[in-house]
Symmetry: C2
Subunit: 354 residues, 2 copies
DNA sequence: TTTCTGTGATGATACGTATAATCACTTTAT
DNA sequence: ATAAAGTGATTATACGTATCATCACAGAAA
């Protein structure tokens, strides 16, 4: 459907008013000064004056079509960008992105129109609008490997947030070094004297899940120990009760939980079940709630700098789109370090604790 | 700076591959079927087949230039859209906006590149990019009346969030009926027996501030009573201590506070000062924190349905941009009702309470 | 005078899409 | 038989901006 297009002020009108050609107006606006293209100060002033009076603004679409970038960064989120309930995974990321975008003077385009199938947005579909942006940021815990590969092949500038393996390692990303922090936390538990480890993680789909698992295994095994693993998807309900039953049976002294929400819920279940945390059972979360969430417990956990993640992703994308601005060339695959938060859910194990 | 433009698949290429003209491709894509423009099914299939193979996507900029809408809704926020600290005023709004945008299949363009002067973004500036979107949502507690007027005059489709007086009432908005809820809360206090009212509000700049003040005054005065008013801008520090000193001196039995953050802080100050809430002093907040914020007190307050505000604004903008879809024509100026939350900070006054 | 060199500005064109105007051809009506 | 109507597709053009190639002209050099 055609837009009810209000009369627009164009360069041609400016040109008429200033008594010059449209080309001259464009040259003035873009400040070109080749040896073959010269605008004397007097003419320049006259044109600028008219522009000021008419409140002319260039049509971004026309600029884009003419081959100039749009100063637009797209944001594609595989899930909803804004929290429908209380799980606001994206908010700190977006905060960082917004700040960086403002700094380099680009607008943000959120691809909310991408159709959702099987609970996830699809990047490619018949009315794919990625090209409206000069480049794109991809957010989401899991991403479709085929789509990523296709995107790389299309040579469209983009940066994934979170480490991505697909496409033979050709995917530019800014990720979180979950491995390093996980190893630190494992080391902490080992040093405290823990010997019976249990890890409750999410289903293996995202790289970040695998990273944590691998790192935890490696660290524990390097101490000649081993860790019992279990998977749970949901953060509530019967699944978690089942998970707790299994944990109870295994009698670990320290419990690692990938998902922060699950960690909170399990602590409550444990306490309700007469198991003191951390006296009888230490719990370490390999993730973090971004908001207080009403849960007062200060978990021993890792903390990902999501805001920094966002701003660094913008910087990288900017570089990919526009080339290096200064001498510092950014790596196309980056990991930012996690902080380890001591918290209050870890203690030395007691003999026969559970 | 020119974008490193990757080779794009254009309609012309599709046309060559399918053995038709570019125009035919366009016609197929747009499904036109005038009496003068007919595409037989066989040709249509052939073209669609080629498109499917080539992963062609239309260039939105070109479409826009050709006079077709972009299915883009702009979001202009006078302050940062995403919280830099913890005050996330916009998040629930954006949640509502995102959901509605997804439903009608439009993307969201956040104007983060607008330059900030005097701590606020400017709508109009030399590289105004509003036109990139088909229409625009305006968010912010206060908006520049001149800018709004200019926007109305430009006939650019937009909707303000929050009631706006400017431009002789020609501004389309979806606002919150603070007045109604404020009157209810005032009535509540009156009915409980309160006679000594005090109102601490923000500086008069936003319409919403004025609405609450007017409504509170009217309700209290209709009961033959009066309310002492005071202004404080900041939600912390010395200002608030001063404000409290003034309140203390006036000895009200019920304190209305516009800003929820101030209300929380004042309650803490009151309690620390030996004044029990609500036994000795009732406090009513005419606003709400969107997040728990660690403050456990359940304030008697009004609660604005911000998510609904967002989705209704999108619906209205959609109507303004595209005309009415079904028979229900939306009003260009709407107020959505507030909920009144009973809370635990109001009680009947005691004689000589403070 | 003629030729060269710089100066100031313009015309033409490309970008990719949408669509009105038109054309060639076939079938039906007169 | 010719005109009218219908069918399938194409050509031409507009949208607003950026930029290359070009031009007119003045003054300097030959």
């Amino acid at each position: 459907m055609a837009i009810n297009r209000p009369e627009r002020v164009t360069q041609r009108m400016i040109a008429e008013l200033a008594g010059v050609s449209q080309a001259t107006v464009s040259l003035v606006l873009n400040g070109k000064t080749d040896s073959t293209t010269r605008i004397p100060a007097e003419t320049r002033q006259r044109v600028l004056e008219v522009i000021r009076e008419t409140t002319y603004v260039a049509d971004p679409a026309a600029r884009s079509l003419a081959g100039v970038g749009n100063n637009l960064i797209g944001i594609f989120t595989y899930e909803h960008a804004f929290p429908h309930e209380s799980s606001d995974f994206y908010t700190p990321l977006l905060t960082g992105i917004e700040g960086a975008a403002e700094q380099i003077g680009v607008d943000l385009l959120m691809f909310t129109s991408a159709p959702v199938v099987d609970g996830r947005r699809r990047l490619f579909h018949e009315n794919n609008r990625l090209r409206l942006a000069d480049g794109c940021l991809l957010l989401g815990r899991e991403m479709d490997a085929d789509e990523l590969t296709r995107l790389v092949d299309s040579r469209y500038p983009f940066v994934a947030i979170g480490r991505r393996d697909a496409a033979d390692g050709r995917i530019p990303y800014v990720g979180v070094d979950y491995g390093g922090a996980t190893a630190q936390l494992a080391r902490l538990a080992i040093d405290l004297g823990h010997r019976d480890f249990y890890y409750l993680h999410l289903p293996f789909a995202a790289e970040s899940t695998r990273d944590r698992k691998d790192s935890l295994s490696a660290e524990v095994e390097s101490a000649g120990l081993s860790v019992t693993m279990a998977v749970t998807e949901s953060a509530e309900g019967a699944d978690l009760d089942l998970a707790w039953a299994a944990i109870r049976k295994a009698q670990p002294t320290v419990l690692f939980v990938e998902d922060a929400g699950q960690a909170e819920a399990l602590r409550d279940i444990a306490v309700a079940d007469g198991v003191a945390v951390p006296e009888q059972l230490s719990i370490i979360a390999l993730g973090e709630r971004t908001r207080p969430s009403g849960h007062a417990v200060d978990f021993t956990r890792l903390s990902a700098p999501r805001q920094e993640l966002g701003s660094r992703a913008v910087a990288l994308l900017d570089q990919i789109m526009n080339g290096t601005r200064d001498s510092t060339e950014l790596a196309h695959q980056q990991l930012v370090s996690c902080t380890v938060i001591a918290g209050a859910t870890v203690a030395a194990p007691r003999v026969g604790s559970m």
